[in-house]
């Protein structure tokens, strides 16, 4: 009864074991490709500017902060 679950568990672990490091490395690579001005140095990354991509919300956020 539980044997199929164990097999699925192994497959999932192997899949994630291959996928996640690749994703992580791809993310690091994409990060280093950003032009310097798009990098936010420590303090500027608070709050993450990329998070506010909705222009309506962005405008509202900006208005609210002023």
């Amino acid at each position: 009864m539980i044997q199929p679950l164990r097999k699925w568990h192994s497959r999932i672990v192997l899949f994630l074991g291959a996928l996640l490091p690749l994703l992580f490395l791809a993310g690091l690579r994409a990060r280093h490709r950003l032009p310097p001005e798009e990098h936010s140095s420590g303090r500027e990354s608070f709050p993450t500017p990329r998070a506010t991509t909705d222009s309506v919300s962005l405008a509202a956020n900006t208005a609210a902060s002023q």
Partner: protein
Amino acid sequence: MSHQYVAIGWNSQKRAYDLVLAAGVVLCLAIFIGASALLHPSATGETLLIRGFGSCAFLLLNVVSCIGPLCRLDRCFLPLFYNRRHLGVVTFLLGVVHGGFALFQFHALGDLDPFVSLLTANRNFTSLADFPFQLLGFLALVILFLMAATSHDFWLRNLTPPVWKTLHMLVYAAYGLLVAHITLGLLQSERSPFLAVALGISILLVISLHLLAARKERNLDSESLRQSMDGFVVACPLDVIPEKCAKVVSVHGERVAIFKYDGKISVLSNVCRHQNGPLGEGKIVDGCVTCLWHGYQYLPESGASPPPCTEKVSTFRTKIVDGQVWQDSHPLAPGTQVTPSRIA
């Protein structure tokens, strides 16, 4: 173990576990938010809370993910396993706070409904650097909600353990989504190498522990059985079974636990009916096989839990020939009484 539903069957061990958990979460939040406030004095309170709760939730999810393989590698980690579901629920709650603040800060002040904004604002699915990473976090939170909502034994029993275990294996999907959420989100805007190194170590640790545990389990399953006669197979020599404990062997891909106690041998399925824990790693306590995960008990002769509990596991017919335990390769119906083999 219990034969009726209670919200939480509190005992001193659970209280101690949850107290340590609560203290750890508070300490983690205090350290992270305090350090961030010192390093980034211009950061707003909301931002500190978003990052603090998010970091704490991911850290806890890493701990939760490591407990299973650690317990398979070494029994000394079993006390961590006992209340692992509480860790999962707390992870979800921390994630909700993180998500709630993020939804408010980034999506609630526009004209759009916050959830519509979350789901539609960013459609750069082809760009790694601008990927809509918030959607990944939202999906992970939905999975964690499903798991937290069904974490009680009520759902475990009504969904049946295999379905419940399948549902809760979604934790791996949630973990993958959260790694992607951080990699494509915070990692893209944060220049400090600390985050990248910490994330890389956490991925490496979780995957390595799982692979090590899987290797150990595979060795057990690959031990092939041996000669057979009249449907019986040679399981193991008598002298390798410790008194009041079990030897676990694999028969046609299913694990069974061979218990030795009071000069007798009984064989049960290795799968506890509660959470599919490994019965063979438990002990005989007060005449009952006791699962080391949560203490569920079964009579070794019948595989049935003592009344009023109703759980039952499969039993196997056995015989002892020339110091070797032989067992029927076909399981009997759960709860079937079998006369134990006597050790001469």
